[in-house]
Structure formats: C-alpha cells, structure tokens
Subunit: 180 residues, 2 copies
C-alpha cells in the first residue's frame, strides 16, 4: 500500500462506493459495512451515517478514530458478510479472512485486501441525524491490485459494479482543486 | 414519470450518483449539480453538502424545498455544464434545454429529462459542516427511458458509469427494510 497525498483522498469516496469502516476499542478490532457516506470538504472531510444500532459505534464514539477501507468487487461477498453479522459476537477479521494492517495515526487497522484505506479522526457527531463527520489524516492505495472496480449498493440487495470511466477533465478544470 | 412508493426513494440515491438539485426562489427556477450526497434514513432522509458558495443555497435556505433529479449518463455533459456556470446570471433550464415539470408538494421543479426525481423538504441545515438534511416527500421514475445507467463523479474530472448489476438479495434479506 502506497501513501497518497491527503488532498486526493476525497476522490476515493466521492463516487459512492460501499466501504468497510474499522475501529479498535482498545481490546479488539472490528469492521462494519457502510454504504451511506459522502464527501463534505476537499481537506478532506467525510460524513457517514451510523448510530447505536451498529456495534462499532461505541468504539467510534470512545476512540474518535476509524479507518475507511475501500474494497473492490472481488470482496463483495465478504463486504456483505461483514454487514450482516455483529462484532458483538464475531471476530470479523478472522471470520472473513481479512488482514489488519497497523496504521500510522490511528489505532483502527487498515485492511490489507482493500484497494485503498483512509485513516480518519472523528471531527464531530451530529447526534440528531446520526451523522459522523470524519477528517481524513492519511490515505493509501494498493496499486498492485488488478481488480480496481468498486461496488455501489442500491439498497435493495443489488449492487452496481463500476463500468466505463469518462474523462471530462477539460470541462471541469474551473472546478477542480489545484494539484488534482 | 411514474410515482413510486416513498419508502423506495432511498434506492435512487444510495449508489452515489451525481444529481441535479432544483430550487425555485419565488421568481425563477435554478439547478445545481451535486455529487456529495448520502442517505441518512430509510424514511427517506438524505444529506447533501452545499453552502453559500452555491447560488442555489439562498433559495434552499429561504424556501426549505428542493427536488433531487437523477440524470442518466446521456445527460453527462449537461450535468457538467450546470455545475460549471451560475444561476446568478444564467437560466440553466433554458441554456441546457432541460424541461421543468411542476411537482406536487414543492415549488422547485422536477426535471423531465431525468431518470428519477424526488421532491424534498429541508429538514435541517447543519451549518458547521454545510450539511443539508432533506426529507423526501414524493418520488418518481421515468421507466420509458432506455438509458438507465447513472454516473458517479470521482472528483478529479472523471466519471464512472454504472456497469454490471449483481444480485445479492438473498444474502442481504436480514438487512432489507420490508417491502423492498
């Protein structure tokens, strides 16, 4: 996994892929599957929706840290598996044969099998709406992975895989942050 | 355009497509392009990031209404055009030959050329983070459109078009809201 400029990290999330979010509560690692995320700022700041119904929420609230790991489509069935069992009674890294990798700024682990990982600090929890605001502090990409297509949950049990990529950089130049 | 159950509206947004958001400030219609959105609740509640830097924000704040219109890939260049000029000096419906259609619950117009439209009320504005929380009140799909692939902004001027759809309903059953 290679570190990338943090100013580019928002491009890992903006397209709306399903992500895995890891936490470490001081005793053990956990993972949750999250489809409800968005970019909030280029700096980068992200938002995601979660709450007490997710076992990971307690760790997130306590440690104010997590890692957003972005899986490619080859991990789809593990991603669904992670999202349909609970860290309360399951070691999800073990069950789904995912490999935790030590991060640099947070205790939550990166996931080795993912395409990209973003170490994040919790900047705010907007309780009324169950929105967690995160600040990305370091980002990594694994360029050696052949499968680079991410997956987008529709919400009805189906998933859309990335298709063609269209380049509109020229039309967009006035709106792109510098250095992108 | 055919009305669909409001309980299914979140499935129009969850995959993370670029959307057009319309407003009407009492005098004129306007449109902005937004890539930073997420689902917040199945009811449905949505969040999007925008602020005073968008001309539409004033109308959104004043009227507390908007429409989220979901374009397919055939509208990509219009979507970018809408996102790179300002309603301050441009009638975007006219310039991009988009057709406003009267909604039922809000004064902001639906966009005829879009795949789907969701009439929304502003439920809250979380000013510290420029997050607008929206409640969807009515949703419509145009099933007659042949092009159904939506587009996902990467953020660097490139866009990912929907590719294959994978069905994992059986694995997901425990997590799907009833009726989906």
């Amino acid at each position: 996994m290679k570190k990338i400029q943090i100013s580019k990290a928002f491009t890992l999330i903006e397209s709306g892929p399903v992500v895995l979010v890891t936490t470490n509560d001081g005793k053990k690692n956990n993972i949750m599957t999250i489809s409800w995320t968005m970019v909030v700022d280029f700096t980068p700041m992200f938002a995601m929706t979660t709450g007490p119904w997710n076992y990971s929420f307690a760790a997130l609230q306590k440690t104010k840290e997590c890692v957003i790991a972005i899986p490619a489509v080859d991990l789809l069935d593990k991603v669904i598996g992670v999202g349909t069992c609970s860290g309360a009674d399951t070691d999800k890294f073990e069950k789904f044969m995912l490999t935790p990798v030590k991060g640099k700024y947070v205790k939550a682990p990166l996931i080795k099998e993912c395409l990209a990982n973003i170490e994040c600090k919790v900047a705010d929890i907007v309780k009324e709406h169950n929105i967690i605001v995160l600040e990305g502090v370091a980002a990594y990409i694994d360029n050696s992975r052949k499968e680079k297509r991410t997956i987008h949950a529709v919400g009805d049990g189906t998933f859309i895989v990335d298709g063609r990529k269209l380049d509109r950089r020229e039309m967009m130049l006035s709106k792109l942050p510098s250095g992108l």
